[in-house]
């Protein structure tokens, strides 16, 4: 009897100790493409996330709350992302998930989180359909192509006065196809005539045929919707084939890796961006300084990933410091006008991100905001 009582006392004390502890840790799973086609984005996203986790500990989180991030590689593939999500949800019991990098991957993996009622904050998915419409647990920080491209293209047209366009897009990826849909709609809206459209697949390396076909039609501008690796090859081959006109790319171009891989061929390429790097907002300056201090290159993907963590921290704060899945879900709904590197951020009623986009041009090997 006394041993049973002794055991009960120990048990009760231990449980009491647990509930008395004020320290709670929110475990976040980050599914990023560290290998595969989207590896260039995943690498910089990871930098942004790890930096943000450190930064929010310094004041943004309520006292006693810690943020722990587990980063796993989704291999730029749906299948791998699905198994990563299952591990996060069932084994590591995360409170929320950040990611995955690609929209294509998200359409496969996010439904699992939705079914398990785990909030997901997408930081780089920009396809209009198939992300936040999966369900109410899916939130998005990254602007959709349809929020960025129209403004960017309008500014570009005001500068360059193009009247005809040749369009090239990847037709086997959710993001590049969605990007194309928006680009086509915007071009139609601006009254620009699309002289020809060509397609390619993600695994293609030779774009000479498509570029030659478009160049022969003599458009004023080449509009391309592609992921970074294809983008650098396309731009390089276009310049090699003698195309000296303007080139405008979608979100896939938004990576310093694109500039690095395309080299001199990237000069003058226009890209709409969700991150106004020239913004003087305090959060942006803090972000840029912190990235520079670590020797990381600050780019749109890092800024979006960093913002994703800020948003989650804010959600925890709004939930009164509670770190459970439902708490974070409720807290996300209350995030409003948060100062982030992307600008003043709020969620739309459909849980998509909302803030001011910008357009940039590649000059001297760097992205410069086109004012």
């Amino acid at each position: 009897m006394s041993t049973v009582r002794g055991a009960l006392v120990v048990l009760l004390t231990l449980s009491g100790v647990n509930t008395l502890a004020a320290d709670s840790t929110a475990r976040i799973g980050a599914a990023l493409s560290l290998t595969g086609d989207a590896a260039v984005y995943g690498a910089t996203q990871r930098n942004g996330i790890l930096l943000a986790v450190e930064d929010v500990q310094k004041g943004q989180l309520p006292p006693g709350v810690k943020l722990e991030v587990v980063v796993e590689d989704d291999g730029s593939s749906k299948q791998q992302a699905i198994s990563v999500y299952q591990r996060f949800i069932n084994q590591q019991k995360v409170s929320a998930i950040i990611g995955p990098t690609l929209s294509t991957t998200a359409t496969g993996a996010d439904p699992i989180a939705q079914m398990a009622k785990v909030p997901v904050v997408a930081v780089s998915n920009t396809a209009a359909k198939g992300i936040t419409d999966i369900g109410n647990y899916i939130w998005r920080v990254s602007l959709m192509e349809k929020q960025v491209v129209p403004g960017a293209m309008k500014t570009a047209q005001q500068r360059l006065h193009f009247k005809t366009a040749g369009v090239l897009y990847g037709n086997d990826d959710v993001f590049t196809k969605a990007g194309y849909d928006v680009m086509k709609a915007t071009l139609d809206q601006l009254g620009v005539k699309i002289l020809g459209t060509q397609t390619f697949a993600r695994t293609d390396r030779d774009f000479n045929a498509q570029i030659t076909a478009l160049k022969a039609l003599n458009p004023d501008i080449l509009v391309v919707s592609a992921l970074a690796e294809n983008a650098s090859a396309i731009v390089t081959q276009a310049r090699q084939l003698g195309w000296s006109g303007a080139i405008m790319g979608g979100n896939g171009f938004n990576s310093p890796a694109f500039i690095k891989n395309a080299g001199p061929a990237a000069e003058g390429v226009l890209v709409g961006t969700a991150w106004n790097s020239a913004s003087p907002s305090p959060a942006n300056q803090r972000f840029k300084q912190a990235m520079a201090a670590r020797g990381f290159t600050a780019d749109q993907f890092a800024a979006q990933a960093y913002t994703g963590v800020l948003v989650l921290a804010e959600a925890i704060k709004q939930a009164g410091g509670k770190t459970g899945r439902e708490d974070i879900e409720a807290g996300l709904a209350k995030v409003k006008n948060l100062d982030t590197p992307l600008g003043t951020f709020s969620f739309t009623p459909s849980r998509d991100g909302e803030h001011e986009p910008a357009v940039q041009i590649v000059k001297n090997g760097k992205f410069e905001i086109l004012q």
């Binding site: 290998t35 697949a201 390396r205 030779d206 000479n208 030659t212 690796e229 090699q240 084939l241």
Partner: protein
């Protein structure tokens, strides 16, 4: 006109790759599925020579090609020779080469990682020439030139040299060749050396052409190479060249006129048609079995 140039350019690479494939098939009656892995390894070797050792591209090219040839000899020794006596040596050789391909790819992944790698800027020439209505980049011209030169060299080797005669003899009948005093083992090793050198050259040129070297680059040419040699006639070198250029041009025009989703479909549809109408391929010889 530009599209024709594009097609010839792609075709050169296909033809070079297919030549190596069909050489080994002609001599040994075995499909060497590790050919695409040698294609990839040679590209990485050239990349390492240019990128890390800072050799000039034209110096790195022959070194990488010779290295590829040596890998081919090694491949023959390890994957094919032990199985040669067996009755099912065709199939077991095939599977063995498949295993070798997987191993090679894993080695490349371990050594360089899964990304796409580029030749450093400046190592690849980027001047352009005007030719009729087409713009030919210096890279394209050099690649077409090197491919044609290698094909001519191969033809000369096979027709005019002793080794060439021996290779053709072994291709005809290893037993008869052995009886006549040909060192069959050495000839087979030499064939593998040449075949892998050709495949490796195709790999380096492919890597230079699209400035893209990755551990899975062999996969994209693997099936195409197979299609090319079947189309041209298995064992026929002129067939491989003809089919290689043919396929290159067909692909380019398919993409330009119909869209890139149709490209592979059309290529394999053409293969299918040729197999239906002329099973031995365009230039292949009807199989004759003499008792």
């Amino acid at each position: 006109m530009q599209q024709v140039v594009n097609g010839l350019f792609l075709g050169s690479i296909y033809a070079l790759f297919a030549l190596g494939y069909t050489l080994v098939f002609g001599v040994l009656d075995i499909l060497n599925l590790a050919h695409q892995a040698v294609f990839m390894l040679c590209a990485f070797t050239a990349l390492a020579l240019v990128g890390t050792l800072h050799l000039h591209t034209l110096v790195a090219l022959p070194i990488a090609i010779v290295a590829a040839g040596l890998v081919g000899v090694l491949l023959e020794r390890a994957a094919f020779r032990p199985l040669r006596g067996r009755s099912d040596s065709n199939i077991s050789g095939l599977i063995s080469s498949l295993a070798a391909a997987t191993i090679f790819e894993a080695l490349a992944l371990a050594a360089w990682g899964p990304g796409q790698f580029r030749f450093p800027f400046g190592s690849v020439p980027d001047r352009r020439l005007q030719l009729g209505g087409a713009i030919v980049s210096e890279v394209q011209a050099v690649i077409i030139g090197i491919s044609v030169a290698m094909m001519l060299a191969l033809t000369w080797l096979l027709r005019r040299t002793r080794l060439g005669r021996h290779i053709r003899a072994v291709a005809e009948s290893p037993l008869a060749a052995r009886i006549l005093g040909v060192n069959v083992d050495r000839v087979i090793a030499a064939s593998f050396f040449i075949s892998s050198a050709l495949g490796g050259a195709a790999g380096v040129l492919f890597g230079l052409a699209f400035n893209d070297v990755s551990a899975d680059m062999g996969r994209s040419v693997e099936l195409k190479g197979l299609a090319v040699i079947i189309l041209g006639g298995m064992g026929s070198m002129p067939g491989a060249v003809l089919a290689g250029y043919g396929l290159g041009i067909i692909e380019v025009f398919t993409v330009a006129k119909l869209g890139s989703s149709w490209r592979d479909g059309v290529s394999f549809a053409v293969l299918f048609l040729v197999l239906l109408l002329r099973p031995r391929g365009l230039l292949g010889q009807a199989a004759t079995r003499l008792a």
